[in-house]
């Protein structure tokens, strides 16, 4: 099981990697913006992606669109402070599979990952 954690905050990436580890996923790559994420997905097969929204260079929502445009079906969970309903709908329409709003309990990360992996 391999994950990609996409967030411009190195601290948030570490927090998310810790949560993934507790969910049984100890193999995780990191990307600091949407561009890096799109490039990483082209070269590696991931089982799940955690994607921030607000990042420099390329927003997470644009990275989701690019990943789907490239034909990749890897489950993507948005993990963001963008909590408005319209943002959630926009992300799901773009191809995200689930949505986590920051701040979050670590148990939420585990539950959401299990949801997308069991579908």
């Amino acid at each position: 099981m391999k994950a990609l954690v996409v967030d411009d905050s190195v601290v948030m990436r570490k927090v998310l990697i810790g949560a993934l580890s507790r969910a049984g996923i100890s193999d995780a790559d990191q990307a600091a913006d949407g561009k890096e994420a799109v490039a990483a997905v082209e070269g590696t097969q991931y089982d799940v992606i955690l994607m921030d929204w607000n990042m420099p260079n390329m927003l997470g929502i644009d990275a989701v669109k690019a990943i789907r445009a490239n034909g990749k079906t890897v489950p993507i969970i948005m993990c963001t402070t963008e909590a408005e309903k319209s943002r959630v709908i926009e992300a799901l329409k773009a191809g995200a599979n689930n949505y986590i709003i920051k701040p979050f309990e670590p148990s939420v990360i585990i539950a959401k990952i299990e949801q997308v992996l069991n579908k």
């Binding site: 905050s9 927090v15 607000n54 402070t81 701040p103 979050f104």
Partner: protein, 159 residues
């Protein structure tokens, strides 16, 4: 800016502390400030734009900044380095993000800028002339801190 508009930010601070830091933040005094005459050691700033325009500043003593980021990561960092600055930036991002949702309602979402962190022994944060900032001080098990908010309000919180 009316005092009730600070409530979404206070609620957001408390939410971030309880969920991410396993701590409880207690609001103390709320006051108006015209300038940052005595800023804390570490200040994290983030802008809001769209239907609401403004700035949120999280002002921390070094000890509180270290305790917060060490709490997030389970580390024992003793100096303000890039990781601590990054962590403080993420915290102000989450605080502003939680509050802005209440102002957006079902309308167009308010956008957040990327956060900026200022750190040093001697600096001043200058605000636009005529701007009044609401300053809310907090206590917590991680140390004291304050949140400053100023914005041009064109809508009200939805909850």
């Amino acid at each position: 800016m009316q005092v009730e508009y600070i409530n979404p930010f206070i609620e957001s601070v408390c939410s971030v502390f309880s969920t991410m830091l396993n701590s409880e933040a207690k609001r103390c005094e709320v006051g108006l400030v015209r300038s940052a005459s005595s800023p804390r050691d570490v200040t994290a700033l983030i802008g809001l734009s769209g239907r609401v325009r403004g700035t949120v500043a999280l002002c921390l003593p070094v000890s509180t900044a270290l305790a917060m980021v060490n709490g997030l990561l389970g580390t024992d960092t003793r100096v303000v380095d890039d990781t601590v600055a990054d962590g403080v930036a993420e915290l102000v991002n989450m605080i502003a993000g939680g509050a802005k949702t209440k102002f957006s309602g079902d309308g167009t979402p308010i956008d957040l800028s990327l956060p900026t962190v200022v750190h040093g022994a001697s600096y001043a944060v200058e605000y636009p002339s005529g701007t009044r900032w609401l300053d809310v001080s907090f206590t917590s098990s991680l140390g004291p801190f304050s949140l400053r908010v100023a914005f041009e309000k064109t809508c009200t919180p939805t909850t």
